[in-house]
Symmetry: C2
C-alpha cells in the first residue's frame, strides 16, 4: 500500500467510480444492479466469482412468515416488505438479464410429526394469527391431499401460502448479467484488503495486491468475510460471526412431482425440503457455531436425511448431488446491518443477513441504493423511507447500534 | 474395423506383444505386473486411467473368513490362498514400485447389536469353527476393550485376527508403477472394442478407433465391462452383471484412533467400517441390482450412516469426503472366472470377482500368469497348480462352465 502522499497523487489521475461494492453475492449484486440502473457508475469487487460465497449454499426460501421469531418484529416487517418486492424484482431482473430466475410461488407447509411437535405448531399458529399473518391450520389428511408425498405419520400442518422460494444460484447469475448489462463493472478474483478511509470520509478500497480503487462511496456486502476488512479500527467494523449450515442437494430421477411446496419442520422450521419445481430438491440445514469450518460431517448428513425421509419417505429414492456447508453472517443481535456507517461519509454496510440474505436482497438494495443516490446528489439526509419503511424500522438495522461496542472476551 | 484380408497384411508388419491385458484395475494390473516380471512383453489397455473402474470404489477388505458363505468352499480356499499371498505380494510390490501400498494388518471384528443378530453371529461362529478357521468369540465387554469406539449397546463380537485391509487406490497406483518399471506398457484412454479371434486362436484386439493391436495372448480383466466385448458370439463371452455398491469415505479431523480394526455387521458382514490407520475410514456398502446405474441415493447414504453411527457413535463426528457407487462384476453363480477361454487358444478370462476383486488379485495373477508363461513356452498343459491350487479347485473357476449356456430371458 502506497504512502498517503503518493496515493493522493495517484487518485487525482484516475477517475473514481461512484460506488464500489465489496462482494458479489445476492446482496452485493442486488445493490450493484439497482445502483447501476439508477445511473451510478458501479464497480463490484469479488474475491472469487459471483455467488461463490454463502449464496452458493443457500436454499433460497422466501419465508418471512414461516420464520417469524417472537421479539423480532422489525425483521418480520423487513422480510414481509422484501417478499412483497420479490415478484416485481424478479420480473424486472429477468427482463434486464434476459435470463430465467428460478422463482417458484410454491407456498410452504409447516408440519408436525408427533403430539409434542403438534403442540409447538399450535403455538406457532397462534403467534402468526396475533400478528395478522396469512396462515391456515390443516389437519394431516388435508395436508396430505395437498402433498401426497408426506408420510402418513403426519400429525398437523400449517399452510403458509405466501412463503415461496427462489434458486439462489440462478438469481445470482441473473443479477451479475443485469449488473453488467446495466453498465456496471464486475472484477472477479479480486480480493479487497482494506477500506481506504481518510478522516471522516471513504475514498475507495485497497486490493489484496496493494493497488487502489478510488470510489466516492463504498458498500460492504462481503457477508461474513466483511468482519476482517482492514482500514478501520476493529471496533468500528460490524462484528460478524459465521453460523455454519450444512445442506444437501438432490434430484429425483423420476422427474418432478414428489413435492410442490416447501416443507418445514422443527423449531422455527429449521429443517426443510425445498422443491425447485423441476425434480430437484434442497434439504437443510444445520446451524452450527464452528468458526469458518465448512466441512460436511457424517452426523449432519445423517440427521438431515433422517428428518427429511421420515417426513417424506420418497426422499430415500432421490439421488444425492451435493453435500455442502455455507456460512451465514450473523451479528451479535442476529439482525442485519443495513445503512450508512457511523462517522465515515460514503461508507455503507449491507451485511449480517444470517439466514435471510436471499429474501432480504431486494429490500436491502432499495434501502442502500436510495441512500447512495441521495448522497451522490449531495443530499445528506437519511432516506429511511426508501423501501416504504418508517424511520424507526430502518433504525433497527442501523450500523450505528454497534458503534463503540466493547469486544467481549478481549482485554481491550 | 478393416476387412480380414487387410488386417492380416497389417499384422505381419507389426510385432505382436506377448500378452495384451484388457483393463487396468487391480486384477488386470496384478496380472500385467507379474507377467512382465516373468519376462513377457506386456501391454495393458485401459479405456480410462488405472484403477478408474470398480477398484476406485472398493473398500479393500481382505476378508475370506468374515465373508465365508455356506456352499462356497472353493471361493473360501481361493480367498485364503490369496490372503496368504498378500503380505509377500505387497512386500515385493513396494520394492518393485518404490511406493507404499496401504496394507494394514488390522484384523476384523464381526459384531451383533441385538439378540437376533447375536444368534446369527453364533451360527457364523459355528460355521467357521467347522471349517477350522481362526475366529474367537468375544463378549461385548472384551470387544469394547479392544475397540473403545464401539457403542455400549453391543451384544456380541467375533474376532477374526487374520482378515486385514488394503487401500485399493494406493494398491493400483503401485501396481501401475511396478508394471511400467518391469518393462510393461500401459495405454490409458484406450478402449477395446473387440477381441480379434481367427478360427480357434486369438490374434489381438481391435481398439475403439478401429486400429489393431497384435498380441499372442489376450487377458480379459475389464470387470463388469468385459461382458460387452465384440469379436466373439455373445454366448461365448462370460455372462456378467453389475452389482451396485454405494460407499462412503470419511476422515476424522481429530486424527486416527476411533477404530483400529475393520468392524463388520449384518448378514455376511455386508455393512462395515474400514479404518485406513491414518484417520480415514470407509463405510460400505449396498448391494443393488440396478444395471449400470452409479448414482448415490439419499436412502443408501442414510442407511450406511445409520448403521455405522449406531455401532460406532463417533462416526457422527467424521467429515464426509466422498460418496460414490461402484459396480461389482458378478457371474450367474457369483464365482469368479479365472482361466483359459474354451475353444480359443491364447484367450484368458480374469473377471467376475464380485466383492472379492482386491483380495483375489494376487491369486488370480498367479493362476493366469502361470498359464500365460506355460503357453508362451509352447507347453499346452493346464497349470492349475500354479498357486498351490489342486485341479478340482481351479476348475471351480474355469470359464468353460459357462460355455454354450442358454441366455435366460431372451428368445434366442
Amino acid at each position: 500500500m502506497p504512502a498517503r502522499g503518493d496515493f493522493k497523487v495517484k487518485r487525482s489521475s484516475s477517475s473514481p467510480v461512484d460506488v464500489a461494492v465489496i462482494g458479489a453475492g445476492a446482496i452485493g449484486l442486488s445493490i450493484a444492479w439497482r445502483a447501476a440502473s439508477r445511473g451510478l457508475r458501479v464497480l463490484v469487487l469479488e474475491r472469487d466469482h459471483p455467488g461463490a460465497g454463502t449464496s452458493y449454499h443457500a436454499a433460497g426460501m422466501l419465508a418471512p412468515v414461516a420464520e417469524v421469531t417472537p421479539g423480532e418484529d422489525a425483521l418480520l416487517s423487513l422480510g414481509l416488505r422484501s417478499a412483497e418486492l420479490f415478484a416485481p424484482f424478479v420480473s424486472e431482473l429477468q427482463r434486464a438479464s434476459e435470463m430465467r430466475v428460478g422463482y417458484t410461488r410454491c407456498g410452504t407447509l409447516l408440519v408436525a410429526r408427533d403430539t409434542d411437535e403438534a403442540s409447538a405448531l399450535e403455538r406457532e399458529l397462534a403467534l402468526r394469527q396475533r400478528l395478522g399473518l396469512e396462515v391456515q391450520r390443516l389437519r394431516a389428511s388435508a395436508a396430505r391431499r395437498l402433498e401426497p408425498g408426506l408420510a402418513p405419520s403426519l400429525r398437523l400442518a400449517l399452510d403458509v401460502p405466501g412463503d415461496h422460494a427462489v434458486d439462489p444460484r440462478t438469481l445470482v447469475a441473473a443479477l451479475a448479467a443485469a449488473t453488467l448489462r446495466g453498465g456496471g463493472e464486475l472484477r472477479t478474483g479480486t480480493a479487497v484488503a482494506s477500506l481506504d478511509v481518510a478522516g471522516d470520509s471513504v475514498r475507495g478500497v485497497v486490493l489484496g495486491d496493494g493497488s487502489h480503487v478510488a470510489a466516492r462511496q463504498v458498500v460492504v456486502a462481503a457477508g461474513v468475510w466483511s468482519g476482517s476488512l482492514g482500514g478501520l479500527p476493529a471496533e468500528r467494523l460490524v462484528p460478524l460471526r459465521p453460523v455454519k449450515g450444512q445442506i444437501l442437494r438432490l434430484h429425483d430421477p423420476a422427474g418432478p412431482g414428489l413435492l410442490t411446496r416447501v416443507i418445514r419442520m422443527g423449531p422455527g422450521g429449521s429443517s426443510y425440503i425445498t422443491p425447485r419445481g423441476d425434480g430437484r430438491y434442497v434439504i437443510g440445514a444445520t446451524s452450527e457455531e464452528r468458526g469458518f469450518d465448512t466441512s460436511v460431517t457424517a452426523g449432519a448428513a445423517f440427521e438431515l436425511l433422517r428428518e427429511a425421509s421420515e417426513l417424506v419417505p420418497g426422499v430415500s429414492e432421490l439421488v444425492l448431488d451435493e453435500l455442502t456447508a455455507g456460512l451465514r453472517p450473523a451479528t451479535p443481535d442476529n439482525l442485519p446491518v443495513i445503512g450508512r456507517a457511523p462517522r465515515v461519509d460514503g461508507l455503507w454496510w449491507a451485511v449480517g443477513h444470517r439466514r435471510g440474505g436471499i429474501l432480504l436482497s431486494p429490500v436491502t438494495a432499495e434501502l442502500i441504493v436510495a441512500g447512495l443516490v441521495a448522497a451522490d446528489a449531495g443530499d445528506g439526509r437519511h432516506h429511511d423511507d426508501a423501501a416504504g419503511l418508517d424511520g424507526d424500522l430502518a433504525r433497527a438495522f442501523d450500523p450505528a447500534r454497534f458503534a463503540g461496542r466493547v469486544t467481549i472476551g478481549t482485554a481491550a
